[in-house]
Symmetry: C2
Subunit: 135 residues, 2 copies
DNA sequence: ACGTATCTTGACGTTAACGTCAAGGGGCCC
DNA sequence: GGGCCCCTTGACGTTAACGTCAAGATACGT
């Protein structure tokens, strides 16, 4: 709620989000984050933290940093030109479709795997059965 | 249904699954696929094709080839030792949990993005409104 | 003034997952 | 038997996403 919550050092960020300094600097170089500077030291804002959360989430879905960067633009829509905004919007809409498709496929894969696991249980059961009989 | 369906050349595989020869050879080197040989030429079986589908699906979820390889073992459970099978089973159970968690997170992210898109629509609408007024 | 802790900018190293040649064998057709 | 295709095995190149030093600025406690 105070300045401590508003601006965080690189170390605080690392502790809070379980990333390395190198990673944060890398994301800045790739224009995914835009920390302020106090002298030469980086200070990460609430906005940077929100973006970082989205980045990490995107990575868990297997998105590339470049794909994520395009999506991030949708989340700070204020400072964009009209045509650029339209483009951003369309990219996000496409990405949404991808994500929905991915979720459907994932649901399917989960079902498949569950079935395989039921199979596995049976096989394991019958194997220990045989083993019991042999003793 | 004939031999043509049973065994496929590397070229046929590439056309069928939209991958390169290099990729298939790479997957074999990493022990994800085990094509038969006719002389020195590779012949891919139905089993290889099933595995390849699972590989490509896993990749779309952002899994590494190594993670995928461990899962694949569950799908050809027949030829395993009992202890090894138990281990395979546990790995698959863990992976299932990961996938369920990922799906939940994805559902959440989809909701977030949908909301952002509604926002975006509004902003775009109001911007073209302003533009109309200015003309 | 000194140590130590945290930060900075290069710059080179690493891993995964392939891409991209180079050199050569085997089959088939005219 | 020359040409053409498809296949093979090395072996080196590439890209993304960082890791890992090296060398130096800045600040803080004693």
């Amino acid at each position: 709620m105070t300045d401590i919550d508003e601006l965080m050092s690189i170390r605080q960020m690392c502790d809070a989000y379980d990333v390395t300094p190198r990673t944060l600097r890398f994301y800045e170089a790739k224009e995914l984050l835009f920390p302020q500077r106090e002298g030469q030291k980086r200070l990460f804002t609430k906005r940077d933290r929100a973006r970082l959360k989205l980045i990490l989430r995107g990575k868990r879905f297997g998105f590339s940093l470049e794909e994520i960067r395009q999506l991030l633009d949708l989340y700070h829509i204020g400072d964009q030109q009209q045509t650029q905004l339209q483009r951003t919007y369309e990219i996000a809409r496409d990405r949404l479709r991808d994500m929905e498709a991915q979720r459907d496929e994932l649901t399917e894969a989960i079902e498949d795997l569950r079935e395989q696991l039921r199979w596995g249980e049976k096989v394991i059961a019958s194997m220990s059965q045989e083993k019991d009989a042999a003793e």
